[in-house]
Structures are given as C-alpha cells and as structure tokens.
Symmetry: C2
Amino acid sequence: MESKVMSIGVVCELTGLTERQIRYYEERKLIFPERTKGGNRRYSFEDVKSIQEIHQKMQEGFNTFELKELNKSKKQRCTPIFR
Amino acid sequence: MESKVMSIGVVCELTGLTERQIRYYEERKLIFPERTKGGNRRYSFEDVKSIQEIHQKMQEGFNTFELKELNKSKKQRCTPIFR
DNA sequence: CGTGTAAGGAATTCTGACACG
DNA sequence: CGTGTAAGGAATTCTGACACG
C-alpha cells in the first residue's frame, strides 16, 4: 500500500506521535508525503511504517542526520555497483 | 485493508465520484464510514471497493434499494442456516 | 537537536435545504 | 430517485516563529 491517502491526523492516531514530530521528520528529509492541490500532506501506509521505524531508532539514540545516512546506505545496497 | 483512514476527498479522487454521490450511498445504508471526534468521515480501501461496485451496479440500472437487498443476501449466504 | 505552543490564515468537510424530474 | 449547488459553520491542517536547552 504505497498510495498516499492519509492526512496527518490519521497518521498521528496510528503512530501515537504528534503532528510536530511527523512534520519534523519530513523537514529532515526522512519521509516524503505528497500534497493536495491545497497543500495538505498525504501519507501512505509505508510512510507510517517509516515513521514508526524512525521514532524507534531515535529512542535508541540516533539523531535525524544519522538516520538519513542509514537510509542512504540502505538505498546503496539496492543499487548496482560499478567499479 | 479495512482500517478507516481516508477522508472523502481522497475517496473522490480514487473513485472519480463526487462527495454528494458518496454521502448519498451512506444515506442509503450501502456504506458505513467511521467518524472522527469532529464528525469527519473516514473510509477504508474496502469502502472504496464497495463504492465502485455500487456505482457499477447503478450504471447497470439497479437502484439503491435493490443494492441494499443484494447486500443482505450476500450476508445471508455467509451466515449459518437454522431450520 | 527535537519538540511544545500560540497565532492567524487557508483548505477541507459537514449539514440541511432547494432544485430538477 | 439520484445528484447538483449555494450557504454558513465547524474541524482540520498549514506555515513561520519563539521557546527551551
């Protein structure tokens, strides 16, 4: 389910986090919700999963910069390597 | 995906129908969205599927009353029969 | 750094009604 | 019967900023 269909309020309910926290993860480029024509955020279930993982990692002591690096290396692992 | 997470605007986009049509199906007891504390409707992906089926049937000439009967018999088929 | 909050505005949704047919 | 619409209000969400630390 990668379709972006949820407003931030629903994501708050599903994750137990605040709007502030969720918007901050976006500010730090950790999640990428879509926008309606009016500018409202729309999240997917995958986004919700990401948000929960991010929050988990942060409670373990990681900061948002480190999480961004982790995400980068995740992507690199999935892309072909040329030498 | 039976979690009720979508606002009516998203359902309009997914189905191509108007808010009026979607609310009318609810008025006729064909779909059952949840409500936020504030009173806003929340739909699931199953609701979206139902809405599309309802719209399809209506274009084939059924009215909402007949569709309600169809739904009843569907449920009856799934419940045990006692004689 | 990560999050709370008050502020003001804008987008979204709600209901009940009138209309057509 | 099924749907469009204008009306007025209410719930939801948005941004930028100040605060603490």
